[in-house]
């Protein structure tokens, strides 16, 4: 009975977590969803603390609470709180932007934390009870928990598109109620101490369950009007455009990759980098918003003159350098204005690479152009074609800084090299981005292009790069041939009232003429950097610049991240001493969440120390360190693979689903096999695990680069294959530790708390480690955590036993 409950609750709570991430990604931003969900997951750990406190007041609590009746009550409470917290959360006017201004927002935030922690608390209660109550079968409990979670990770894939976020959350919360009608006969009890319940209580529980199912059924069938519809944040682009008259969503497609809303409006106007010299009317447009933001815009190009506007946009400067191109490669990641550019230049062949299937479908339908629906890096790895123009379009999110945590491989030095290797001998690479002040992105892309050209042994790399801007965007152009003749670009800039930022041979007098800042900041900085490269002092330049603008590698691919902690004060002053502008940085949010999480973890871990009065019953520090280390190690491994596999799949959601399902299945299998391992095996398991993790650190990179060249099916198969050994091994130390290192139920409940706290803290820490030190360091942290567990298990605890 309790193993089934563990399975169902693990399934439901993981599906709930995945769906909450989707809800917050729509109603807020990804990094803010991280904030609420991370803290809510402490509900799991709190269950262990609660049981420890119970231990001081009630004898045989593990027998009483793990009896059929209480477990069913906890399941009902789980379902009620999961549904209730989602509906209430949808109604709380929580607004992160107002946090520094309105004290009431702190109350809303705390309420959100508490509400969302409740279902995880009840799920955690049943799981930790199972560990405490049947110590001889911790491997089976672990297996049930992991197998359930694996199912919870995978079920949103088929059901989310059918049901939508709100309905699916409610239905997923109902799943554990399946257990209510069933009661194991005494002969089949999993444990001799298992208690059964009377028929009257059983009937009451079943009636309660039925009542909840009916209410939930009504909520689901009544549709969106009663608080289950998830609306995007009012600050997102979609909410803004929907305020205009005659604007409507004509299609919504929901899935794990996001909610895609297609919008028709006479007020949609997207033409970044458009010259003020363009006087005509823009062609009609439509837009697809992913989670209410990062829109893709389509143009209704019925006549050839409809493409004309694109000749007035800044990226078209690159097209001026390659007249009559035969073959153009357009890599789309948001935006959409690149397509009319490619069409307007009269290219014979246009290849569009668009990773999101929904957008790829719409582009194909709208423009009648072949679209490759693939991860751009995989496309580059598999393609032998050469192009006259490669145009990369990615404008970032609607609010600068909010995508600091987003991994992206379009602008790493290795990507630059890939693009350059696919250009013809007169080829042109075009990249268009938003213009930031203080200069940030423009410097980084210039440096990325420079280092890539240098690595490919181009002479005088700076002779191959040009940068132009208007008031809000810039375009970086890299030419395979050096810019010996700069007249075309100079004329284009002057005619369109654009400004030159970097071009071989230009002077201060030739810049900052049409779109004027107080000083030509971008020109100064890129020229300073060029000089630094010439004198070999680029490292000093990157160290002293107030922002992190160093070119990015595939190991640290965060194109929206510029924060330097050592220069935080300077940055605060540069952005007008406004707290909210820092708060919108994903990285600042990570640090705030980590501090909050640390305080909560300390509270949950210390509470039993202070409330338990008998010295011999107080938690043991060695046990605490062992389970903290094991919890941290597991999460480091999980996060490492999720982040690494984004490189293969290109999409964090796909990577998350593949890795989570894989790690839960294989570690669950590890837990199952742990039942056959004796006390002495723990040491060997940890040694083997550390060795495997070091091998992963040393050998995974070349392997995943190799995988990129294979077909999609092989990519999935090989990615899963690589997970088997490390994930199997990480499934062993927790159940083995539970079984062989601990004696009392309260100790096991405390170990559960430690494991939960470590998981939350590590997941937040991993994000910061990846941003600051790079993704590979995460797996070294995992090895270090397991080494600590090995040292503890090898010395103190084994000695005590």
């Amino acid at each position: 009975m309790i193993l089934t409950a563990v399975f169902l609750l693990s399934l439901s709570s993981l599906a709930f977590e995945v769906l909450l991430t989707r809800v917050f990604s729509i109603s807020q931003w990804n990094h803010l969803s991280f904030m609420v969900i991370s803290i809510a997951l402490f509900g799991f750990a709190a269950a262990g603390t609660f049981l420890n406190i119970i231990d001081t007041h009630k004898k045989d609590w593990e027998q009483r609470l793990s009896a059929s009746g209480p477990v069913k009550i906890f399941i009902i409470l789980y379902t009620v709180t999961a549904i209730g917290s989602f509906i209430l959360l949808n109604r709380i006017p929580l607004d992160y932007f107002r946090l520094p201004l309105e004290p009431v927002q702190i109350f809303y935030l705390l309420t959100a934390y508490l509400l969302l922690a409740l279902p995880f608390f009840f799920a955690g209660l049943v799981i930790s009870l199972a560990y405490a109550f049947i110590p001889e079968k911790t491997g089976f409990v672990y297996f049930a928990s992991m197998a359930g979670s694996a199912c919870g990770a995978i079920i949103p894939v088929p059901f989310l598109p059918l049901l939508g976020e709100g309905r699916f959350i409610i239905l997923a919360a109902l799943i554990p109620l399946i257990i209510l009608p069933f009661e194991r006969p005494p002969a089949n009890k999993i444990h001799t101490k298992t208690k059964t319940i009377s028929r009257g209580k059983r009937f009451a529980l079943q009636a309660s369950g039925l009542f909840i199912v009916i209410i939930a059924g009504l909520l689901v069938s009544m549709g969106d009007g009663i608080g289950i519809k998830v609306n995007p944040s009012p600050y997102k682009d979609l909410s803004r455009v929907l305020k205009f008259p005659d604007t409507r969503i004509f299609e919504t497609v929901t899935g794990l990759r996001g909610r895609f809303d297609s919008v028709q409006s006479p007020y949609i106007r997207f033409a970044p980098g458009l010259s003020l010299k363009f006087k005509d009317i823009l062609p009609k447009q439509w837009a697809i918003y992913r989670d209410g933001d990062t829109p893709f815009f389509g143009y209704k190009l019925q006549l050839q003159k409809d493409e004309w506007f694109s000749r007035f946009t800044l990226p078209y400067a690159g097209y001026m350098l390659a007249p009559n191109p035969e073959h153009i490669l357009l890599i789309q990641d948001g935006g959409g204005s690149g397509i009319p550019c490619a069409m307007a230049c009269g290219a014979l062949n246009i290849t569009i690479v668009e990773q999101k299937p929904q957008i790829a479908h719409m582009v194909r339908k709208n423009y009648n152009i072949p679209v490759v629906n693939q991860n751009p890096r995989a496309f580059m790895a598999q393609s032998d074609n050469h192009y006259d123009i490669i145009h990369i379009e990615n404008w970032g999110s609607s609010i600068p800084g909010s995508d600091a945590l987003t991994q992206g491989y379009l602008f790493t030095t290795a990507s630059f090299s890939g693009y350059l290797n696919h250009l013809t001998e007169n080829g042109i690479l075009i990249m268009a981005r938003k213009l930031l002040l203080p200069p940030a992105d423009s410097i980084r892309l210039w440096a990325g292009a420079y280092e890539s050209l240098r690595s490919l042994e181009f002479e005088n790399p700076e002779q191959h790069i040009a940068v132009l801007r208007n008031w809000s965007t810039f375009t970086l152009i890299v030419s395979v041939k050096p810019f010996n003749d700069t007249v075309v670009l100079k004329d284009f800039a002057r005619n369109m009232n654009f400004d030159l930022v970097y071009l071989p041979g230009i002077t201060k007098e030739m810049v900052n003429r049409f779109n004027m800042f107080d000083a030509p900041y971008h020109f100064f900085e890129i020229n300073r950097l060029a000089e630094a490269y010439r004198s070999g002092t680029e490292k000093a330049y990157f160290e002293t610049y107030p922002l992190d603008v160093a070119p990015q590698s595939d190991s640290r691919p965060f194109p929206g991240r510029f924060l330097k902690w050592s220069k935080l004060k300077t940055l605060y002053k540069m952005t007008g001493s406004r707290f909210y502008s820092l708060f919108m940085s994903g990285e600042i949010v990570v640090s705030v969440v980590f501090l909050e999480a640390l305080v909560i973890a300390i509270l949950l871990l210390m509470l039993p120390v202070f409330t338990i009065k008998k010295q011999d019953k107080k938690p043991n520090i060695s046990h605490l360190i062992y389970f903290l280390a094991v919890g941290a190690g597991f999460m480091f491994v999980e996060l490492f693979f999720i982040k690494k596999y984004i490189f293969i799949f290109g999409d964090p959601v796909i990577s998350f689903t593949v890795v989570l399902t894989g790690i839960l299945i294989f570690s669950g299998f590890g837990g199952y096999c742990s039942q056959r391992i004796g006390p002495g095996g723990l040491r060997n398991v940890l040694i083997a695990l550390i060795a495997v993790l070091i091998l992963v650190f040393l050998g995974l990179d070349p392997m995943i680069h190799g995988i990129l060249g294979f077909s999609k099916i092989l990519q999935y198969a090989l990615a899963i294959l690589l997970l088997i050994l490390p994930c199997f091994l990480v499934g062993l130390p927790f159940p083995l530790g539970m079984r062989y290192l601990l004696n009392r139920p309260a100790q096991r409940a405390y170990a559960w708390t430690a494991n939960g706290c470590a998981s939350v803290l590590t997941s937040i820490l991993s994000a910061q480690i990846a941003l600051s030190l790079g993704i590979p360091i995460i797996i070294l942290c995992a090895a270090a955590a397991y080494l600590l567990a090995f040292l503890i298990s090898n010395t103190k605890i084994i000695g005590q036993k």
């Binding site: 305020k243 205009f244 458009l274 010299k277 002040l437 008031w471 009232n497 049409f514 952005t575 406004r578």
Partner: protein, 213 residues
């Protein structure tokens, strides 16, 4: 207010200083906020809109380099305060407000305190006021992420358009667009934070008031 908040921050145009001295700012703020009318920050005026900080009003006015004979279009009447300041300096002031309640309130207020030469209109300022164009200067007092082409068209040669340009839900740059023949320059002045320009009203729903009704 004029000395501490405006002159000492570098707004040196005497006309602007005089206008800021003459126009009773307290008449334009809600009754309950009168005590803060001259404070160095914006104030809410209802309908999700604000009356700008005195310094920003003065700065935007000064950057238009008014001589006294200009025809000016203001987009976003709000409380009517900015229009009143402009009217103290320029020859003709046209102002458009999208929110009907604010439009009515500001129109009545301007009339009641003697600014009868200001022409007010209820409508979507994005499309400007073609019937009254061309203008020497245009001022947009709500944030927008691009420069509205209809307003550029309604600008005279040598005309100036000032606006908070950038992401309406983040910060913007106060920008001055100048038109010389067919050439445009955009000058970024300073970082600002304005309420977003909205587009609730349709062009055809506009209500025009010549002078004050």
């Amino acid at each position: 207010m004029v000395l501490l908040q405006i002159r000492l921050r570098g707004v040196s145009d005497k006309r602007v200083q005089n206008a800021m001295n003459q126009v009773p700012r307290h008449s334009f703020v809600p009754e309950e906020l009168v005590s803060q009318a001259y404070a160095d920050h914006p104030l809410p005026i209802g309908q999700g809109q604000t009356i700008s900080q005195p310094y920003i009003v003065a700065l935007m006015t000064e950057k238009l380099k008014l001589k006294g004979d200009e025809r000016i279009l203001e987009i976003g009447t709000g409380s009517g305060y900015q229009a009143a300041i402009l009217a103290k300096i320029a020859k003709e002031v046209y102002t458009i407000e999208i929110k009907e309640k604010l439009y009515k309130k500001a129109s009545n207020l301007l009339r009641s305190i003697g600014f009868s030469k200001i022409k007010t209109l209820h409508g979507d300022g994005y499309f400007g006021w073609p019937e009254a164009a061309p203008f020497d200067c245009i001022m947009i007092t709500a944030s927008i992420d691009h420069i509205p082409p209809p307003l550029l068209k309604q600008l005279k040669n040598g005309g100036r358009l000032i606006l908070p340009l950038g992401n309406p839900f983040s910060y913007q740059y106060l920008s001055l667009v100048t038109k010389h023949d067919d050439q445009y320059t955009v000058k970024q002045i300073t970082g600002v934070l304005f309420v977003p320009m909205t587009g609730h009203a349709l062009d055809q729903n506009r209500t025009v008031t010549d002078d004050i009704p």
